[in-house]
Amino acid sequence: MITIKRSDVDKMIAHAKGCLPEEACGLIGGTKDGADKHIEAVYLLENTDHSNEHFTLDPKEQLAAIKDMRSKGLVPLGNWHSHPESPSRPSEEDKRLSYDSTASYMILSLMDAQKPDLNSFHVENRRDVTKEELVVI
């Protein structure tokens, strides 16, 4: 199970809408309790691709975010990105580029602007996708 605060979901949605038509992206940090993850911080980073079809995080921004997490006693839990025009599920490219099998990969779909859809996924072997139980608190 992975938990996220309503305020952090709203923060992601607002940022993703502000980045349209481009994909938005960032990192998530928090705590781990056995198999459970609790998101305590959402980071809004630049999509260096500036594309509506792709995203890439800037390593310098990643490092700054990770250092901020550590200073707050948090650990990196994964990343998030938006799909402006497609559903909330990993694309073939998302799977192919999911190099960290310990990470949660969150995808926020804005396909229905009135009803943003956020889901979290675990990807093994850059191929096998499992949807994580996401609880908004």
Partner: protein
């Protein structure tokens, strides 16, 4: 020597290289990992020649990207 890897203090033999540390830490898909040493990014071509020293701080950053 004591070094900090991904925020955790760890003890390793002195003189190991970044390449060796990547092996010892069982880093997944190392070809897609960016390494920072004391907040400076190291070029992949220098992993084999860069020695880690006592007190160094190392982070492994996975490439993160995707597409629809």
């Amino acid at each position: 020597m004591i070094i900090t890897v991904a925020g955790e203090n760890k003890e390793y033999e002195s003189g190991i290289t970044v390449k060796k540390l990547i092996e010892l830490e069982n880093v997944e898909t190392p070809e897609y990992v960016t390494v920072s040493l004391n907040d400076e990014f190291i070029d992949g071509g220098e992993f084999e020649s860069t020695e880690i020293k006592n007190g160094d701080r190392i982070e492994f950053l996975y490439f993160m990207g995707g597409g629809r």
